[in-house]
Symmetry: C2
DNA sequence: CGCGAGTCAAGAGCAGTGCTCTCGATTTAG
DNA sequence: CTAAATCGAGAGCACTGCTCTTGACTCGCG
């Protein structure tokens, strides 16, 4: 617990949290690039310079929000995976969870999967939370493989060249899953985010919008494409 | 020709072009949200307020850049389609052209396919150039259908419900192409942009980066998935 | 040709931004 | 109890987008 810490430490942690909350509120209404330290400080009734005691720069505040967003999305994905039955249901549930979270938090989704913020360089600390969704999906594949419901399509080409070692990195997180299945999983993963981004960023207005049916169709077809029966 | 116009008109057109060029230069080095009207005006040796005679606001300048970017990408895609042999080669060539253009103009790609700019509402004038790549791909499908090299996979599910009329809009641009092929084409299209965005936005660093082989593999597999032999 | 209307760049100015530094007050730790 | 660390407040700097006014220039109509 935080009982061992001083009053100042607890106050600091609380204020840090309040700052992020206010920033998130402003993020939702104004968007990432209009997020203003001064506006946040105004909302909290403090002076703008005081914020710099908690976040050394605007970019650091953004980094904190980015990490929180990755973790929130990752948690949503992991929860969906845990509460599903068969591997196929779990895969589809994770895809749905990603989309639903994105629709519910469009600005935060844009923050992590949209264009990188102006010259902003993502620090090391973001890459671990950024991988949680992918890891959840790989875990489902691994489980499907173990329970024998993974039917690698014969017509899938065997990866070659550089891809062998690139997919090897993923294979460590999904032991026993054939490389050609992992290659198709990467295709499905990029399709998932392409589809969600298109929907959120208004790219399929006039065609597949609303995208509920298209989304269900696509994730289902790609699950089959991967070999999750 | 512009011979019929006055000296003032020609000067205005030229300056408009120079402003966009300078803005594009700054876009490439600074990113979209750090694009500054004052910096552009400084580079052109004029005063910031003078720019407002040419673009009523920063958003209007961005809109002009967005339209130019859509058109440049669309032109690249159409050129690739024209210079290819078989429909399958044309399809793959368009995919490659999109990726290459995106890599060569990352900030402009981010401008049109990244997160929408802060509260910026895309005007009507952007939707027509935005469709050029999709229309080029649909044209290839139509051509493949006409020349009999389109082999709609039997295992592809028949679209139902709302998707039927949504895909119907696309069907007008690709007459004769079965709806289930169009559904898979939309899957391939969203995958294409998801893959390119992931690569450009640094999302697959540590896994599939560099992405050349993965890109070739994915586009090839999805072309087959659609039924373009 | 001449002159009014339209167009232009320039400048000052407003409200807002991120960020730095200094200053007293408060709290912590030795 | 005292010295050090931390805190919020405030002033200030260099920016930003944008508006309004001013005086000069150019165009086209009569």
């Amino acid at each position: 617990m935080n009982a061992g810490r001083t009053a100042r430490d607890r106050a600091r942690a609380e204020l840090t949290h309040e700052i992020k909350d206010a920033a998130r509120r402003q993020l939702a209404t104004e968007g990432a690039e209009r997020l203003s330290l001064r506006a946040v400080s105004r909302e909290l009734g403090m002076v703008s310079s005081a914020l710099y005691r908690y976040f050394p720069s605007r970019d650091d505040l953004l980094t904190a929000l980015i990490i929180d967003a990755y973790n929130a999305l990752g948690l949503a994905a992991e929860t969906a995976a845990k509460n599903a039955g068969t591997p196929r249901e779990a895969w589809l549930a994770v895809c749905r969870a990603v989309r639903i979270w994105a629709i519910k938090h469009p600005q935060e989704y844009a923050l992590i999967y949209g264009s990188p913020v102006a010259g902003y360089k993502a620090p090391e600390s973001t890459i671990e939370p950024a991988g949680r969704v992918a890891i959840a999906l790989l875990g489902i594949l691994s489980q499907a493989q173990a329970s024998g419901v993974l039917a690698p399509p014969e017509d899938a080409p065997e990866p070659s060249g550089l891809m062998v070692e690139q997919l090897g990195v993923l294979a460590e997180l999904a032991p026993g899953v054939p490389l050609k299945v992992l290659a198709r999983a990467m295709i499905a993963l990029t399709q998932l985010y392409g589809m969600v981004s298109f929907e959120l960023f208004g790219q399929l207005v006039g065609t597949m919008d609303p995208a509920d049916e298209f989304f269900a169709d696509a994730t289902g077809q790609l699950a089959t494409f991967i070999g999750i029966d």
